[in-house]
Amino acid sequence: MGERLLLQGNEACVKGALTAGCRFYAGYPITPASEIMEVMARDLPKAGGAFIQMEDEIASLGAVLGASLAGAKAMTATSGPGFSLMQEHIGYACMAEIPCVIVDVMRGGPSTGLPTQGAQGDVMQARWGTHGDHPIIVLAPSSVKDFFELAVQAFNLAERYRTPVIILVDEAVAHVRESVVLPDKGSTLIEDRPMPTVPPEWYIPYADPGTGVPPMPKFGDGYRYNVTGLCHDVRGYPTTRKDEVDPLIKRLFSKISKDVDHLQWCDTFLTDDAQVTVIAYGSVARAALQSVKRARDKGLKVGLVTLKVLWPFMRQTVARVMEGCPKILVPEMNMGQISREVKRINRGNCEVFALNKVDGTLITPREILQKLEEISV
């Protein structure tokens, strides 16, 4: 059994990142994400890593990408306004296939919005915020323990697929303190990016080795290659040839989409006989769990699916829930970003209800229970 600690969500995130091997952090202060930066500033040098406070969020993610190319596992953390600034480099990381982790502690928006209050308004920005067509992986913790575990997994996925991985967490999960048992040192599975096994003169940096993920050496290791945000050929040189551009973009998608079966991460609670299933994520899933328990006490057949992966959307999981359940409720602290996705994959088998709240306060168990009672009739 590992260490038991009372941790804030943001602290747990740092512990997860360090466990995964993160050795570089660049960031810019922003509420409600600043604790991640502060703990990194304190703990990274002790772990032999490097921390730097950059001049803005564009620069922060730029430095993270540079560090990753030099071989360090690297991350940054921010909130909505900073996340908007990072979109440029999220696209760069997708195109140049640079592993990195970006935490967005969501606060009320748009614009400066509600700096100290929670929201879940960045779900679509995380998916489509950068320009151009691209895949993205987005994880959503709903507890302090989740935040630790998903921080580890975010690095594993980033390294495995050479892609940016975003953790979307709402302010409540980032700031709540919970007692958590961390795994024993060495018991967590840590993945590292694939490295070339051929000598430098044989190395073709963006050739598909069959997995869709080309090996990635560190700058300075003798494999001198070119990195660019332009469409590039397998050697990394800029190209506009359609027979080189098309396979590149399609490979960026397929390297992740081929494995969606492995990205169906969720917790399910009493879904087998449920006539109404709540689909939730983040702090809202915690409230929903209470609501479902109370509704069961009242004899209502309701269940809960807590999504831990938001993108690629867990189509298989949600479709399976929809097959056996006539009604779905999606409570969210936004105007309906995941509920829209649930409706989009609905084949007409069920009715999809949304419960939306955008006033900066949390969705309460009572509010979800009320809605469950309404739609169970």
Partner: protein, 270 residues
């Protein structure tokens, strides 16, 4: 047998990347040649060097040369360079930016990299115009010049990149033109061996749009313009205000020894 190969060939990626994108008469090639000669003299191996560029004509330079190369986003070369240097201080990190790249969209990154004094050797190829996008005015275009984005004359004042870098805290700041290649060679040598943040501004002609909009004529005439108007710091001091007008000072503006960012940060690493 006489060795006929130019030393530059050792450093070029001949496999695919030629011909290059630059217009005939462009100054970027002269700078590239000078940079490679300096690296060849420097003792650094090709594996030691990371060339980081932004977006623009001069930022296409790294793709042609056989180092660790990265062509980043517009204005952000220094942010990537900072991450690379901190993650692996063994690497020699060199950035290549244009004037719009470094002091317009990347102006904030530029002054903060100078302030932090991170060990990056940065070159700013200043052609006083946005060449790649069609010759719009940049923060270094002189006041009054007509360009596609200043059809009634540029109403703005221009930056002096060297004074900006000096004020922001760079350890080494210098300027040459591509015409003054012996000076350029000397400045690149000095900058490459400087600890801390070093800046060399390279005045280079945009023979396509600079000549069209600034009325500087043919590539040869633009070179002659550099010869006549780029004046060494020692000499420019002797000129009166009237004589200085329109002239560009070249030479070393700043050469200071102060602890670099990595030296400071190394004190914390356990």
């Amino acid at each position: 047998m006489i060795e006929t190969a130019h030393p530059i060939h050792k450093y070029l990626r001949s496999s695919k990347k030629f011909p290059h994108i630059w217009c005939p008469g462009c100054g970027v090639g002269i700078f590239e040649n000078a940079l490679i000669r300096a690296i060849d003299r420097s003792g650094y191996t090709r594996d030691d060097i990371v060339l980081v560029s932004g977006i623009g004509c001069s930022s296409r330079l790294p793709v042609y040369v056989d180092f660790n190369t990265i062509h980043t986003t517009h204005g952000r070369a220094l942010t990537f360079a900072t991450g690379i240097k901190l993650a692996n201080p063994r690497l020699k990190v060199i950035t290549i930016m244009g004037d719009g790249d470094a002091v317009s969209i990347g102006g904030n990154h530029f002054i903060h990299a100078a302030r932090r004094n991170v060990e990056i050797t940065s070159f700013i190829v200043n052609n006083q115009i946005y060449g790649m996008t069609g010759g719009q005015c940049s923060p270094t275009t002189p006041h009054g010049v007509v360009t596609p984005s200043s059809p009634y004359g540029n109403p703005e004042n221009s930056f002096d990149i060297c004074l900006l870098a000096e004020a922001a805290g760079a350890s080494f700041v210098a300027r040459s033109s591509v015409y003054h290649t012996p000076l350029l060679d000397k400045l690149i040598d000095r900058a490459l061996h400087k600890s801390g943040f070093s800046v060399v501004e390279v005045i280079s002609p945009c023979v396509t749009y600079g000549s069209r909009w600034m009325g500087l004529g043919s590539p040869v005439e633009m070179m002659m313009w550099q010869k006549e108007n780029c004046i060494h710091l020692d000499r420019i001091k002797g000129l009166d205000e009237q004589e200085r007008r329109g002239k560009i000072a070249i030479g070393i503006f700043t050469d200071k020894n102060k602890p670099s960012y990595s030296e400071e940060y190394a004190k914390f690493i356990g």
